[in-house]
C-alpha cells in the first residue's frame, strides 16, 4: 500500500536489462534470448510485477474492455429491471465469452445520456442489445466511429451497406414458429401481446403476425403493454382481450411476465389453460417453467446470442474476418403444458 507498485523500469534494473527487453519478454515482440527471458521473468516474479493495463491501453489505444449497453438499465430504478432471466443469462454469457477473448465486459447504461460515466467511453467497442427505432446510441457510435454490434437489427436504420453489424435474433422465423404451434395445438382466435419498446422483437413480431393472420384468414387482435409493467401488464392485456370481442383461444405474449400475468387473469375468469386458451411466451424464463401450468415459450437462447455478439465484436476489433453464424439457427420453441394438445385419455 505504502510502497508503490513496481514498474517495468524496476524489473529492468533488477534483471540488469533494458526496459525494451522486459517489454519484449512479456509481449512476445522482438526477440529475447531464453536465458535473458528467464532472468526477467524471475525478477518480475520477485518484485510482484504486473504490467499496468492502463499504460498499455494508452500506448496501444486499446484497453481490452467492451461495453454492454443493457436497455433495461437505462432507468435509474433498478427495481424496474425487467426480463431478468434474459438479462442475466445474456450478461453472464457475454462476460464469459469476453473473458475467453481476453476482454473485460463493462455494464453501462446509455452513454449518450447526460450522466454518461466517462469510463463508459473507455471501452474498445460496444454491444447494444435490442436497439430501438433510430436509436440515438447507434447514431452516436456510428458517427464517432466506435466499433459496435447490435443484437437484433436497429429498426429504421438504413439497410444500406453501412447498416450496423448485428446478431440475427431471427424474430421473423420465431414468431411464425410460435404462431404455427398455437395453430397446430388447435387455437383459431390467436391474439398477440407485445411490449412497447420499439425494437426489432416487438416490431417485427407484430408485422409477421399481421401477415400470418391474413394468410390464416383470422382476424388479427393485438395489445401492446409496456415491458416494465411485468405481470400487471399481462393482466391488463388479458383483461383488454377478454373485454373486446370474442375471447381468444390462443395468446402469444412476447414478454414472459406478460404471459404469466395473462394466465392469471384467464384462470381467474374460469378459463382453462390450455383447454380453453393456449398460451406461448416470446421469451423464456424460470418462472414459466415453474408456473402452473408450465408455460410454453420461445427460448431466444441469450447465451448463444451473447456469445455471437462478443465474437463478432472481438473479430471486428482485431480486424479479423467476422464469423458467420448464419449456419446455425438460434432460438427454439419450448413446448410446455400451456400449449400442449390435451393428452389422449388412456
Amino acid at each position: 500500500m505504502t510502497t508503490r507498485r513496481p514498474t517495468i523500469r524496476d524489473v529492468a534494473r533488477s534483471a540488469g536489462v533494458s526496459v525494451t527487453t522486459v517489454s519484449h519478454t512479456f509481449t512476445g515482440n522482438g526477440t529475447v534470448a531464453p536465458a535473458t527471458q528467464q532472468r526477467v521473468r524471475t525478477a518480475a516474479q520477485d518484485l510482484g510485477y504486473r504490467p499496468d493495463v492502463i499504460a498499455q491501453g494508452l500506448r496501444r489505444n486499446r484497453l481490452g474492455v467492451i461495453a454492454l449497453v443493457a436497455r433495461q438499465l437505462d432507468t435509474l430504478h433498478p427495481e424496474l429491471l425487467y426480463d431478468v432471466d434474459y438479462f442475466a443469462r445474456f450478461a453472464g454469457a457475454a462476460a464469459v465469452a469476453s473473458l475467453a477473448e481476453g476482454l473485460g465486459l463493462m455494464l453501462v447504461s446509455d452513454p449518450t445520456g447526460p450522466r454518461a460515466a466517462g469510463a463508459a467511453l473507455a471501452s474498445d467497442g460496444f454491444i447494444v442489445t435490442e436497439p430501438v427505432t433510430d436509436d440515438p446510441l447507434v447514431a452516436m457510435l456510428t458517427s464517432a466511429g466506435i466499433p459496435f454490434v447490435t443484437v437484433g437489427e436497429t429498426p429504421g436504420a438504413p439497410l444500406a451497406p453501412g447498416s450496423p453489424p448485428h446478431v440475427d435474433i431471427e424474430s421473423g422465423r420465431l414468431t411464425t414458429l410460435a404462431l404455427d404451434h398455437l395453430w397446430e395445438s388447435g387455437a383459431r382466435r390467436i391474439a398477440l401481446v407485445t411490449g412497447t419498446d420499439r425494437n426489432e422483437w416487438n416490431l417485427r413480431s407484430a408485422a409477421v403476425y399481421r401477415r400470418w393472420a391474413r394468410y390464416r384468414r383470422i382476424t388479427p387482435s393485438m395489445v401492446h403493454v409496456p415491458e416494465h409493467l411485468d405481470d400487471e401488464g399481462g393482466r391488463r392485456a388479458a383483461a383488454t382481450l377478454l373485454a373486446s370481442g370474442p375471447a381468444p383461444d390462443g395468446i402469444y405474449a412476447l414478454t414472459s411476465n406478460h404471459a404469466l400475468g395473462a394466465v392469471e387473469v384467464l384462470t381467474d375468469q374460469g378459463l382453462r389453460v390450455p383447454d380453453d386458451v393456449r398460451i406461448v411466451a416470446g421469451s423464456d424464463a424460470e418462472s414459466l417453467r415453474a408456473a402452473h401450468p408450465p408455460i410454453s415459450s420461445i427460448d431466444l437462447q441469450p447465451d448463444e446470442l451473447a456469445r455471437r455478439a462478443v465474437e463478432l465484436l472481438a473479430a471486428r476489433l482485431d480486424g479479423r474476418p467476422v464469423p458467420d453464424h448464419a449456419q446455425h439457427r438460434v432460438g427454439r420453441l419450448v413446448v410446455r403444458a400451456s400449449s400442449a394438445p390435451p393428452a389422449p385419455q388412456p
Copy 2:
C-alpha cells in the same frame, strides 16, 4: 475513422490557449476566465473532442471502473449460471449504482485464475460477492493492496482490525427469521438444505440452525447439495430427507431452485404443501412467486446489497468516510402459500 480523434492539444491550438487551460476548464482545477472557458468549450465542441479516459486514467492512476466478481461466472459454462435472479438483480443494481458514482462496472470472473483477462486488473477496486473460506481472491487483493469490499463476510478470515470491509448480509438474523416462521406456522421437524459453497450464507445458516435446533429442542437434520444442481439438487435433497428418518414437516432450503425441486418431490410423494410440509427458500426468485403453490422466501434484497457495496467501495476509493448502513436492516421474509398457516375455513 480515418482521421484520428482530436486531442487536448488540438483544442488548445484551435482555441488559442495552452493545454493547461483546456485541461483546467474540463477538470475544474485551477482557475480559468469564464470567457476563455467558453472559447475552449466551443472549440472542443467543434472538434468533437472528448477527453481520453485512458490517458486520464494513467495520469490519475484511476480509471473510474470497478469490477464485480461474480462467483457464478467462474465456470466456463454459463449454462451452469445459478441463482439467476439474484445475480441479475445484483449486477443490474450495481451497474446503476456505479453509474451514479460516475463509475463503470466490469463483470469479471476470478482474476486469480490463469485466464485472468488483463483488463480485470485495470479496475480501481473490486466487489466480491459471497467470498468463500480463505478466499484466494481476497488474499490476492489484500496483499496487492487493491481496494475491495465483499458482500457477506469472508469465512475464516481473521476478524482482526485488518478484516476486509464488507456489506452485512445479516445471515444470522435472516436464518432465525425463516426458522421461527416455520415454527410458528406449525412445523416441528424442520430440516435445512444448504448449498456447498463455503460462503457466509451457507456456513452461518448451518451454524445458526444447529443452535436454533438445540434451543427449540428439535433434532437437527441437514442436507448439503451443490448450488449448480438447481432443481435436481433440490429433488435429491428432498429424496434424502424422506429416506432418512421421519419425514420433515418444515424445510428451509437456502437456494431457490433447491426449494423448487424439493417441492416437486414432496408433491409427487403425495405430501401437501403447506399442509404436510411447510417450505421456505433462502433466496427469492420470480420462479418462487410463480410456483404452485407460491413459495415463501427470504428476499436478500440484492438491489440494496449491491447499492451498499458500491457506495462502500466508492467511499473507500475517494478516501471519504464510509457510509454506515447498519441503521437499516436488509433482507426480509416474504410469506407465500408454501408456509402460510391454513386459512380458517369460512
